[in-house]
Symmetry: C2
Subunit: 341 residues, 2 copies
């Protein structure tokens, strides 16, 4: 491995592939000498697209992969069948330590399946979740799982809490991070079957600061540092965060233009308004790493545009320095289940 | 029954009971001659609290109930055991047609259980959902289920879609309302087990305009008229809607005061800003009726304050005129399941 940070990027995954991937890559390397991107996918298409841009040739490499895993494909079948897909080839580069990270905007389920099967998980981890940072009033919060595992068991949720807690404490430096489970009421008795079964396990779990249930209305206020839920609920929360912020901003802008007085006010206030809303934009955190793997696999939005791809590539440098999975490995104390005792 | 609209109110349920219930009741009757509220709960406490207010004595009546179902109690056990609770007594008033509606801010699960057991459901309905209206950019949207059933089966979701569709078409007059299921991707293959099993049933369901999956980010834009999900997810969405709108508004206000120029702008723009955000406030719709019951049972927020109680009481008049459940009864074409054929 060279001294440069080496990021393999799935050039074919996501709604805007390969164009956004290539534009984002060029912008990332043009802005940072210390990064090299390995574009994985159909060589001919990538070369042709790359020829439109100027960049330092040492910083971009293409690795050919002839197949593409589509968003709608069944994850397990796709990973098994499409050995020469950009995702499978990219994950092998990571496994073989030819790159420091693998980034994809493609099929989340396939990325999880491939991450588990090819890169492998830390001993004892059952299901790696996506750990996504998002903005709250008081700063930043971690959503765990933000979309990798849509049907989970209580024991998985407990590990999400443990890994999320290690992330916030040992990577972001938040002492004794407050861990809460998403629920529809404050009381232990509330919730669906999954939450009711998970709650007592979290209470008993050592090494985490479990503060109980959090109702969705309290999430933006920053009442917890680590938010635990299944990947379906986590994905719904983060996407609503994005969508509602953006809709509200545009409704507010329209409203500000509704009267002459407010129009004048808006002209004066709009720069500050935009800045404020930007500080609350969930997309700025871009990628979410799979927690608990033996390597750095990062998912970006399926709908990611060039700027998000660029941000995610640059983020990998930070993720690598933060050594999230290494810290999880060092600090994780696994709860012994009955079967293990 | 008199000509007045008769609303029984659970005076003991909810975080702010009984004070907010009594204040809200007094304000509702003082502003509307045509409503009579029956306060159900501990007579002595209610009388004492009522004595602080001025109101037309013909418009408020107390029905004594000595027990209270707490928020954290197990719904089925609570309804079975506490025969003299404000909730059970109130539901019996509705069943016996002594009132036109029953409103509670108490234990949602108990309200569902009691609604099913005491008031009864329309023939063929498996699980009544809460149908909550909430604001979107293009107007209004119905969330179904917004919190009654936290663990559901695909057949329940299909009925949520049918009832929600009838509500929007026959009550709100939206022709051929677009029905969408909350999902984490646009494709049929996406989702958790519940969504994957429900999707093909919704596609085959006659009499609804099923447009497929909706991602949470698209909900505020108004891409669908009826949003289908289980009560856990629905509750999370509505509460995040509330919380995020409120947090964003306060972050924006603080941001507007951050520079001298924006401060001047804010002073001019704030009235328009407030008006705009108010148009997007999910709490203004207040109560959500249980769809598919043989009577009008309405749930308000557990955290409802006097103004929300007042709004919900006034809403009952509209709900009664809209005859939601009667229209569901008239228009529902039940899908025959294999067992029935």
């Amino acid at each position: 491995m060279s001294e440069k940070m080496l990021v393999a990027l799935d050039a074919m995954g996501g709604d805007n592939a390969p164009y956004a991937m290539i534009e984002g890559t060029v912008n990332a390397v043009n802005g940072n000498n210390n990064i090299k991107v390995v574009l994985v996918g159909k060589e001919e298409i990538i070369s042709q697209e790359l020829s439109k841009y100027k960049y330092n040739a040492d910083q971009i490499e293409i690795v050919n992969a002839t197949e593409v895993i589509e968003t709608a494909e069944h994850p397990v079948a796709a990973i098994k069948k499409k050995k020469d897909s950009s995702m499978v080839v990219g994950l092998h580069l990571l496994k073989d330590k030819k790159v420091d990270a693998f980034v994809s905007a493609g099929n989340s389920g396939a990325l999880l399946t491939g991450g588990l099967g090819i890169v492998g998980r830390i001993r004892g981890i059952e299901r790696p979740p996506f750990g996504a940072l998002f903005p709250v009033r008081t700063g930043v919060c971690l959503m765990c799982d933000s979309g990798a595992n849509v049907d989970v068991r209580p024991s998985h949720m407990v590990q999400f809490a443990q890994m999320g807690s290690i992330y916030m404490e040992h990577v972001l430096g938040i002492k004794n991070p407050r861990v809460a489970i998403v629920n529809i009421g404050a009381e232990e008795e509330k919730g669906n079957a999954l939450v009711k079964e998970t709650f007592p396990l979290l209470k008993e779990c050592e090494g985490i600061n479990f503060i109980g249930s959090i109702e969705a209305r309290d999430i933006p206020e920053g009442y917890a540092d680590v938010i635990i839920c299944d990947g379906f609920v986590g994905n719904v929360i983060l996407k609503l965060y994005e969508g509602l912020s953006s809709t509200l901003l545009s409704v507010i802008k329209a409203g500000l233009k509704s009267t002459v007085m407010s129009k004048v006010g808006a002209a004066l206030a709009l720069p500050a308004l935009k800045k404020t809303v930007k500080s609350f934009d969930a997309t700025k955190y871009g990628g979410a790493p799979l927690l608990g793997l033996n390597g750095l696999v990062v998912k970006t939005h399926g709908s990611a545009k060039a700027v998000e791809i660029e941000n995610t590539i640059l983020q990998c440098d930070m993720f690598k320095k933060q050594a999230i999975n290494e810290k999880i490995k060092e600090n994780l104390v696994l709860n012994k289940t009955k079967e293990e005792n």
